[in-house]
């Protein structure tokens, strides 16, 4: 249907080019959240990135390049697919999947990376650094750097390297250097610390492609804008395929980039309920989950003010999730803002629910979802049950599950 008729769908660049009333203030605040809680040594480069982004938003050549890459390299638009057997299984609303898993590199991460790689070139940077948890952002960054001939270093926690061997191999094959992070909890948050540290010593040559809507301003805004093509397309596709807007839009939330990109174009559609699904891990006890919006408190982490998992002294807590991409103690500041204003409802799906959803989508639809996206699917099945057959739920299938099969097999007690 509409999926192949590219001109009818919004281009990637439209979400970037349009300043809206939802942009943060000049210092990056969404209400009280966001801001720039960073060392002075990073401030100059952060301001350089902010200025470059504001310039790029009105630079038609930049926007055209982004659209061209998103169409011919990523393979956008991604389809909106009605999951009929999954809907029947849930026994309620019609469920539509926004297939970001079909993008080049297998997840939504490429949307942001291509935009920021173009920005890096615009700024004359020759080297790119990135952090990665599950490895999807690392792979997307390695891919973009190969495509643009940029040097690439990806910081990845030692624990995540163990969990995500396939992605590590892919990054190295693409010419990226994967630097194991052995400090702290050896996961995503420590990889962000190391990347920031690298950046402070390399600002002249290097751009840091932060992979989620976290960190100091302007990253939460830049990443949201580059990801908003997801929601822009989905909104238009839903209108064309069903004649109306969805009743509910659902996405998983770690740092929150696919959810921000999915929700943002629906924020002003009051009739559309927005639901973010955090990683509930093994349960609500401290240390057992990665759900700062559901169970955390307001605080500062990685340069912005948001919800975070911290102890009474402000020390970041260890978190747990079956999914390396959601295993993060913080969350993007705009999600904190949406939570406090009540625009988005945040819930948690636990490890075993995500695992069950992973299997359901595989057996009912022939689609292997990423463990991150499986959290969104798990909640979607529950939410669909509560609704009637005329209702429509659109869920972001943010990534494919190939990277997770070793870990899933291990959890199921099987050997590959």
């Amino acid at each position: 249907m509409a999926d192949t008729s590219r001109p009818n769908l919004p281009r990637a660049s439209t979400a970037v080019a349009e300043p809206t009333t939802h942009d943060p203030d000049a210092r990056g605040h969404f209400g009280i959240f966001g801001g720039r809680y960073i060392p002075e040594a990073l401030m100059a480069v952060i301001e350089e990135v902010t200025a470059a982004y504001e310039k790029a938003r009105t630079d038609q050549a930049f926007l055209d390049k982004l659209d061209d890459l998103q169409t011919h390299y990523t393979g956008r638009p991604s389809p909106l697919y009605e999951a009929i057997r999954l809907s029947e299984h849930a026994g309620g609303a019609r469920i539509f999947l926004k297939r970001e898993d079909l993008n080049h590199t297998g997840s939504h991460k490429i949307n942001n990376v291509l935009g920021q790689a173009l920005l890096a070139r615009q700024m004359g940077k020759t080297r790119v650094i990135a952090e990665t948890g599950a490895g999807q952002h690392g792979v997307a960054t390695a891919v973009a750097c190969a495509r643009f001939g940029l040097d690439c270093v990806v910081y990845m926690g030692e624990e995540d390297i163990r969990r995500q061997k396939l992605n590590v191999f892919n990054m190295r094959t693409m010419g990226a250097e994967v630097r194991p992070v052995t400090t702290g909890s050896r996961t995503l948050r420590d990889a962000i610390n190391e990347a920031m540290r690298d950046w402070m010593a390399s600002v002249e040559t290097t751009h840091y492609i932060l992979g989620s809507v976290v960190g100091p301003h302007p990253f939460p805004q830049i990443v949201r804008d580059f990801q908003s093509v997801i929601g822009k397309e989905a909104r238009q596709q839903c209108l064309e395929e069903t004649g109306r807007l969805p009743d509910e839009v659902i996405a998983c939330v770690g740092g929150g980039s696919n959810a921000a990109g999915m929700f943002y174009p629906f924020v002003e559609d009051d009739s559309v309920q927005l639901t973010g699904v955090e990683a509930g891990g093994r349960g609500p006890q401290p240390g057992q989950h990665a759900s700062p919006l559901s169970y955390g408190r307001k605080g500062v982490l990685h340069g912005s003010f948001s919800y975070v998992m911290q102890d009474d002294d402000g020390q970041t807590c260890d978190v747990h999730s079956i999914s390396a991409g959601l295993d993060y103690p913080g969350v993007g500041p705009e999600h904190a803002y949406w939570k406090d204003t009540g625009r988005v409802n945040y819930v948690a799906a636990e490890d075993d629910e995500a695992l069950a959803a992973f299997k359901k989508l595989a057996t009912l639809e022939g689609i292997l979802p990423a463990l991150e996206s499986s959290h969104a699917i798990a909640h979607t099945i529950k939410a669909a049950k509560q609704r009637g057959p005329d209702d429509i739920i659109v869920v972001c299938l943010s990534g494919r599950g190939d990277k997770d099969v070793t870990e899933v097999a291990r959890l199921l007690g099987q050997e590959l």
């Binding site: 809680y37 060392p39 002075e40 040594a41 400090t183 402070m200 307001k298 500062v300 402000g314 020390q315």
Partner: protein
């Protein structure tokens, strides 16, 4: 410039034509008792000011040496109240002014009002908050002033002139000048651009200028004599503490060694 214990130190040093020597130590590495003993030793040697690091789980502004030191302290279960209690038990009036190096994540969690009250009553004279740049600092600066505590701000070689003015508007005590555009750690030489920046800053503010990040040797102090008012030494001291975690019986020897190192650096500030 309002008077404070910190500004009094710099005024006195100026009359003696001497640079301030300000060592940094991590509280709780290897344990909080050793921190009390180290502060006492550094005071005995005549250090002009002592920076006390509050360990933080995600210290992006610090280099690997200090991060490792923070991790050692936190792994042993150090709490912020342990630092307050230990410092409060010292005769802080007889010691050089103590300045906390503390992440805003910690201050926010405890509550700015409560944190400043505790900091003041423990006997600290001020603080450096590395992740609270001038832009976010205005109201916290006012609150610090109300509590009679100095808020030291950082200026980096990449800081643009128009930013410097905004930063200085929310600064007191002294200005912490980062000597290299990067993370903390010991460097071989001081970059030549540093002198230019210090000369430029001198015209912008009456606040004393202290240089940190990458200072570890007495020779480096000489290079700064005409352009700065003080030097801060962190990693070079924390590195000496490192072996203590594994050899607690060496405590006295290592504290003496750090005392001797401080004495050498102090001698260099005078010559």
């Amino acid at each position: 410039m309002p008077s404070s214990r910190i500004s009094d130190v710099f005024t006195k040093l100026k009359s003696e034509n001497r640079l301030a020597f300000m060592p940094f130590i991590t509280s709780g590495d290897p344990d909080i008792a050793a921190t009390g003993e180290l502060i006492t030793e550094l005071g005995k040697q005549g250090c002009d000011l002592i920076e006390i690091g509050f360990p933080y789980s995600d210290p992006i502004a610090d280099g690997p040496t200090i991060q490792a030191s923070y991790t050692r302290a936190l792994d042993k279960g150090l709490h912020v109240n342990d630092i307050f209690n230990t410092v409060a038990a010292l005769p802080t009036e007889e010691l050089p002014p103590l300045v906390a190096m503390v992440a805003f994540a910690i201050i926010y969690r405890i509550g700015p009002e409560e944190f400043l009250t505790k900091l003041k009553s423990a006997g600290f004279s001020g603080m450096i908050v590395p992740d609270l740049p001038g832009d976010e600092a205005a109201s916290f600066f006012e609150l610090s002033q109300k509590h009679g505590l100095d808020l030291v701000q950082l200026v980096s070689p990449t800081t643009k002139p128009e930013r410097v003015e905004r930063i200085l508007a929310a600064a007191s005590g002294f200005v912490y000048c980062i000597s290299v555009a990067g993370i903390t750690g010991v460097r071989e030489d001081l970059p030549p651009e540093l002198k230019d920046q210090l000369r430029w800053l001198r015209e912008k503010t009456d606040l004393p200028l202290a240089v940190g990040f990458g200072i570890g040797k007495p020779e480096q102090i000489d290079m700064l004599r005409d352009v700065a008012d003080g030097v801060i030494v962190g990693s070079a001291i924390v590195r000496q503490l490192e072996p203590l975690a594994k050899a607690p019986d060496q405590k006295k020897a290592i504290i003496d060694q750090i005392g001797n190192y401080a004495a050498d650096m102090l001698a260099a500030t005078k010559s």
